[in-house]
Structures are given as C-alpha cells and as structure tokens.
C-alpha cells in the first residue's frame, strides 16, 4: 500500500468535463455546418476550417509564448472558431477568419485570463471587429454567386417613403425557416438545423431552455405587438437574421451569461429587447450580436444582485401538506 491517494471529499465525480461539454456543442453545430455548406458551397467549409484551425493555433501560440499550460484540448477554441465562421458571409476573403480568430482568442479571451475569464463572447467580438474593419465585405450577401439582400435588410427599407410590405417581395416563411435561397452568414440561415442542435444540447443537459426560449420569445412578442409586420406575421421575424444562432449558441455561452436561473431570465429578456430595438430603430438591419455583447457587460451586475434564495435563510415554517 505505497500509493494511497488521500483527497478531500467528494471521492466520486460526474463524468462530464469541459471537453465533453465543448464536444457536445461542436456536435450540436454540425447540422448548421452541413446546411451552410449546402447553401453556400464548399467555400463555407473552407472558411470554417480556416477559422477553427487558426483559433486553435492562436490559443496554442499565446499559451506557448507565455509559458502557460496548454488548454487547446478543452476544445473551446474549436467552438469559438466555428462560431466566427458562422458569423461571416461566404463572400469573405480567406484571411478574414484568421484576423477574426486572432482578435477573438488573443484580445477577447486570453488577455482577460483565458477560458472562463473573458467578459464578452470572443466569437461575437471577432464579428464586431470584422464588421467595423471590413464593413462592405462583412455585409455583402450572396447565394449561388448572386448578391441578395437579407430579409431583415429588406424590412429595414420599410421606413423609406413609398415602400410597402407587398412591394418588398419578401421570401416566404418556409424559406426563412429553412434558409433556402436566403442571404446571410454561413451558420445563421437555417433555423431548423440550429433547432436540431438546440434539442441535442437540451437532451445532453449542456444548456437550459431558459436563455434561448425567452430570448426568442421576447423578440416574437415585440415583433408581434409593435412589429413592422403587424400582428399577422410576428413569427416571421424570429426566423430572420442571426436570432436562432445567437440565442442558442452565443447568448448561452457559460462564461458570459448569468449563473442563476432568475439572472438568465433577465439577461435573455434584455437580449430580446435590445435586438428588437436595434432591428427597428438602429442603423443596422440586425442587432443580435450587439445586443448579446451589451448584455454580456451586464452579467457581473446581474450575478451580483440576482441570487437565489438560501435554504433556511428566512425562518418560515410552512404547514405540512396534508396528503
């Protein structure tokens, strides 16, 4: 008995690890990846691969230079890489995901201390950075080589005088839900594929339903009540743009979302309200990325003030239910 292990309790642990969680997220992103390649061609795959490889590379490089323990095996950089590519139009140049990955991993993640320490979502920071640096390339949408406007961009023109809903020639609801023939970022157009990923994450208990459902529901309610479409098609807008991608895969990022169920509800409602305000009143047609980034900044505050009830904190004796 020379190799006796002494350790603190508990002596048994769940099988789940950071790596297994990230692996599940990667699996959940696969349906959307496949649909992205189907709609936007092999270049979508190329951009995704470049983005993933460079994200992992920058994480490795940074930790190598700073002589920190290498964390690329936790697969979080792979997830970030996939999400960066998902947030780009297929027309982006091959080197743009590399710039985005460098910004996401080094500036947004590692400079703040690496996994678990960043206060904003790295992939969304990369998107915001690229959008500010290469606005034209990041907002030129093409399907099968033909440049198109996104449904949200079309809706934006409603503000202009003389434009009516009928004259917009919007794609059908079936189109926006499945992404067929819809312009947009690589990973965002097929809501159905993203929903499949959502169901997988729920089954695997990686995320709870709260943030995605409440986020999307908030946008739905707002677009129904005060929407540009009126009551009749409030649900049309939830399938447009990056809402499903953002609500399911970005707003639920553990590190940058609140810890308690109540906090998550507040955060999700905030994301929904901001998204809708930007969509309708902002100068951008789409507001998912910025609303999530803004709400990310509010998370420390939410975590500070919105905490659950402590067991036994209030001496309250409830009467036993009579069975």
């Amino acid at each position: 008995m020379d190799n006796i292990v002494m350790s603190a309790t508990p002596h048994v642990r769940s099988k789940e690890s950071v790596q297994s969680i990230m692996r599940d997220v990667i699996i959940a992103l696969i349906p959307a990846t496949v649909m992205g390649i189907k709609f936007f061609g092999i270049k979508a795959l190329m951009l995704t691969v470049i983005s993933v490889v460079s994200s992992v590379f920058f994480e490795w490089l940074y930790e190598k230079i700073l002589k920190k323990p290498c964390t690329i095996h936790d697969l979080s950089a792979v997830v970030t890489g996939m999400l960066i590519a998902f947030n780009m139009p297929v027309g982006a140049s091959w080197w743009m995901p590399i710039v985005g990955a460098a910004f996401a991993i080094i500036i947004a993640k590692q400079l703040f201390g690496g996994i678990g320490q960043n206060f904003v979502n790295p992939a969304l920071m990369a998107r915001a950075f690229l959008l500010a640096s290469y606005p034209s390339a990041m907002t030129t949408w093409s399907v099968d080589g033909v440049t198109t406007a996104t449904p949200l961009a079309l809706l934006k023109t409603l503000k202009n005088s003389g434009v009516t809903l009928d004259s917009l020639n919007l794609p059908s609801l079936a189109q926006v839900a499945t992404g067929v023939g819809i312009g947009g970022c690589i990973g965002e157009t097929c809501a159905i594929a993203l929903l499949i990923g959502f169901v997988y994450l729920l089954i695997r208990k990686v995320i709870s339903w709260r943030i995605p459902v409440i986020y999307i529901a908030t946008v739905f309610i707002l677009s129904t009540i005060i929407g540009r479409y009126g009551v009749r098609m409030g649900y049309y807008e939830i399938f447009c743009g990056g809402l499903f991608l953002g609500a399911i895969f970005m707003a639920t990022d553990y590190t940058t979302s609140p810890m308690t169920p109540k906090g998550q509800i507040i955060y999700a409602i905030g994301c929904g309200v901001l998204t809708y305000l930007i969509r309708v009143y902002g100068s951008y047609p789409e507001g998912v990325s910025y609303s999530i980034l803004i709400m990310n900044l509010g998370v420390p505050l939410i975590d500070k003030y919105v905490v659950g009830k402590i067991f036994g904190a209030l001496p309250k004796v409830k009467e036993a239910k009579k069975a």
């Binding site: 008995m1 190799n3 006796i4 292990v5 002494m6 350790s7 603190a8 309790t9 508990p10 002596h11 048994v12 642990r13 769940s14 789940e16 690890s17 950071v18 297994s20 969680i21 964390t71 936790d74 979080s76 201390g113 690496g114 996994i115 678990g116 320490q117 553990y254 590190t255 979302s257 609140p258 810890m259 308690t260 169920p261 905490v307 659950g308 009830k309 402590i310 067991f311 036994g312 904190a313 209030l314 001496p315 309250k316 004796v317 409830k318 009467e319 036993a320 239910k321």
Partner: protein, 453 residues
C-alpha cells in the same frame, strides 16, 4: 406512493448493487488481537478513561465516563486485559486518547447489564438516562449524543427516522431494515413515547423498495407511525433536507437545530441502538458496516465489534483482490480518506470503501467556466463558484456575506463541476478557518473581560 424530495441536489451512481443483497455477517475479533477504544467517538467533550493499565474488563463494561453535558460514555466490546492507554489514530485523521484492550477471546459478559422488555413502565427521565448510559450517539456519522437530541426545549411534532441512506455504496442501514425491522419500529415507539404529540415517519429512498414494503406492512396498524418514500437523490439524507421532504417544505433556519421546526431526526442504526440499550440492556459496542468498492475480495455487510481496526476486519473477510488505491471511512461523497487500515473503528463507522486506482482517480482541476452547475445543484441554494473564489482569496467578509457557513459540505458542487474544481474542499477549509477565528475572538473577548475584573 409519490416520492418526496427537496430542491436541487445530484444523482451519483448509487453503486449499491455490490452489497445490497449480502446479508449481515457477524465478525468477531480474533483472540489475542488488540482493540482500540478512542475516548472521542462523538460530538462533544471526550470521555475520561475509568480503567487502568492491567485491569481486566468484560464485554459491555463502561471504560470511558462521559464528561460534560454533551458527551456519551464508551464501552468495551470484548473481554480482556487493558494493555495500554495512549493516543491512537481515528478515522477522521486526528488522534484521540484510547483504551487498548487485548481480546482474551472469552467474550465474558459484564454482569451489570439488564434489559427492560417492558419499557412502557419507564419514565421519560429513565428512558433518557438509559439512552445515555447505553452510549447511543448519532450513528449515521455525526455522533451527536442522542440523549441530548431527545431533550429539546421546543415542542416536537415529527420524529423522522433517517433511512434515506443517500450515500452511494452504503447498504448497512438497508440491511438493518430488512433484517431487524421489528427493532426499528419498537425503537421508534420508545422515542415517540417521549413526544406524545409527534408522529413518527420513516423516510426511505425509493431505490430500496424492499425496505419500504417490509416497514410499510409492519406499521400499517400503528396510528402514529408511517413510512415515507423519498426520491433517490443526494443529499436526501441530510438532516435539513429530509425534514424538508417529509414535512412538505419546512426549512430549518440557518444556524438552528431541527427542533426549531418541531423535528427530531435519527438514523436507523441510532433507533436500533436505542432499542438495544433499553430493551436488551446492551450498550453500543457492535456496529453494522458496509465494506465495498472494487478492491475488497468480499464486499458485503458485516457486524463488527467497535474498536477493531479496519485491518482486522479486512483480514477476516478475505482481504483484497486488487491493491486499494484509496480507502474511505464513510461514504464516497462525505467520507474521510485514510492512509492506513491500522485505524480503529468507532461507533460511528458505517463503512469502509476500498477503491481501485481507476475508481480513485480524480481528474485535475481546470479553470471555472462559469457553467453554473454548482449553483443549479447546491441543495442549500448557495453559489459555490463564488464561495470557492472568496475562500481561495481569503476574503473572510465576502465568504460570510455569501452564507459560506451555511454550506453543509455535501460535495454536490464538486461532484457536478465539469472543470473538476475542488469547490467543497476550499469551502470546507474556509469554514474551519472561520470557526477558528470565531473561537479566537471569543477567547480574546473572554480574556479582556477577565483583565477588566
């Protein structure tokens, strides 16, 4: 029957199949072996040895006298000569002064022990005194003297038998319920006689349907006793959480005892020990223990004599099939690891788990990813990730402000943590520091007050 439960908590693999169907086997210490009787086998003041080196003692003879109100006497579990009185190692890792007895193998019984089959004639004081003089303490592991627990100031309306046995691997209470249910019911009747307004509830986790069935049948004609089925979830057997489940939502206030909400909670083995002490006149000197894990040759449930070393026990039940990499006194969620089996068992020893290297493996810690699983599973509603941070930083004020002292050290947070952080460990360590600081402040204040005089 709908299973009752509490909020949050975790679902570790219960691993009870290893020993569930093994009936209790009696093991007697070998002739000539030494048994150790630490004077501290309970919460409260340690006992004082009342025998001397060279004395001859018999089975059931008192060898340690309780000192103080919260204390409980110690009894010899074998007959033989007292060979030494010296500090020995106890399972929690500390040392305690102990009486060492060399077993002469005769098992000569002490003459002074008298049972009282008709306990209904006893007064309340007599019952409490017999419980004290029987050395009965909380046998689930805490070791709180039972006679103190059974004399609360508040009115009691629930006497709950904690038969949840929510720790994985453990099956000793389960076997007791199957093999000695009449003692359990009779023991509960004795406790209920102290609290005429209370009803007795035997709370059993629903992964033990056999025990639920046997006891339900047995109490169906007793008006003030019932059996409650509890959901299999850890820590269902935590005192606060079994009260919450059984009473439909009563929360023991922070820092208070169960009697504050009209409840008394006693473990299965404690109730049976009360029966043994009063009806049979036998003080606590036997203990049912589960030996389990991947390493022992013969995992099972054994009745041992208190004071035997774990090594004695393992030698008698066939030793190991694999060299153990980790040895745990208690359950895998809250038990203590031991570095040697040359440790004496006490009256609160309910199990010995011997893990293979694979079972013993604990993955290395990595950074918190703020997944929130510790918050989602903490049965006390705390924020373990934050307490972990505050504890590591040594932030006393923050730790207290975030209710660090309410932590029950169940380990649910560490169990769930995907980053494998030692949340429970850091919080437990900080709790100890806070306890020491409090004691030091109290001592300082007392000293200052004295100086003033």
């Amino acid at each position: 029957m709908q299973s009752l439960t509490f909020k949050r908590g975790v679902h570790p693999d219960d691993a009870k199949a290893l020993t569930m169907d093994k009936s209790i086997k009696v093991i007697l210490p070998k002739e000539g072996s030494e048994l150790f009787f630490p004077m501290s086998q309970h919460i409260g003041a340690p006992c004082e040895p009342i025998v001397q080196k060279g004395d001859y003692v018999k089975v059931g003879q008192k060898i340690g006298e309780a000192k103080g109100f919260v204390s409980s006497p110690i009894f010899a579990s074998v007959s033989g000569e007292v060979t030494d009185i010296r500090p020995v190692l106890i399972p929690s890792g500390g040392k305690s002064l102990a009486v060492v007895i060399k077993n002469d193998g005769l098992m000569a019984e002490y003459e002074g022990l008298k049972g009282c089959p008709d306990w209904t004639k006893l007064t309340k004081e007599e019952i409490l005194n017999k419980i004290k003089e029987g050395g009965v303490v909380g046998m689930g592991g805490a070791g709180f003297p039972t006679q103190v627990k059974l004399a609360p100031k508040e009115e009691i309306d629930h006497v709950i038998v904690n038969a949840a046995e929510c720790e994985p691997y453990l099956t000793c209470d389960y076997r007791l319920m199957l093999e000695q249910p009449e003692k359990l019911v009779e023991g509960l009747k004795i406790v209920l006689s102290l609290f005429p307004k209370a009803k007795g509830v035997i709370g059993i986790e629903d992964n033990k349907p056999e025990a639920i069935k046997i006891l339900s049948d047995m109490v169906k004609d007793i008006p003030n006793i019932e059996v409650a089925s509890l959901l299999k979830k850890f820590p269902q057997g935590s005192e606060k959480h079994i009260i919450y489940a059984v009473t439909g939502g009563r929360e023991v206030p922070s820092g208070a005892l169960p009697s504050a909400v009209g409840c008394i909670v006693d473990n299965v083995d404690t109730i049976i020990s009360i029966y043994n002490a009063i009806v049979e006149g036998k003080p606590v000197m036997r203990k049912i223990m589960t030996v389990s894990g991947g390493a022992p040759m013969n995992p099972g449930n054994y009745q041992i004599r208190v004071g035997m070393t774990y090594k004695d026990i393992m030698d008698q039940i066939g030793g190991f099939k694999v060299e153990p990499a980790k040895m745990i006194a208690g359950g895998p969620m809250m038990g203590f690891t031991m570095y040697t089996l040359d440790t004496a068992t006490t009256r609160t020893s309910s199990s010995l788990l011997c893990f293979t290297p694979e079972e013993a493996y604990i993955p290395p810690e990595s950074s918190c990813i703020r997944c929130g699983k510790c918050v989602a599973h903490c049965p006390m509603g705390l924020q373990p990730y934050l307490l972990n941070k505050l504890a590591l930083r040594g932030d006393s004020a923050g730790f207290l402000a975030h209710h660090g002292l309410d932590c029950i050290s169940c380990g649910s947070c560490s169990f769930e943590c995907p980053a494998k952080r030692q949340l429970a460990q850091s919080i437990a360590a900080r709790k100890r520091i806070e306890g020491a600081l409090k004691a030091a402040a109290k001592a300082k204040a007392a000293k200052a007050a004295e100086a003033k005089k």
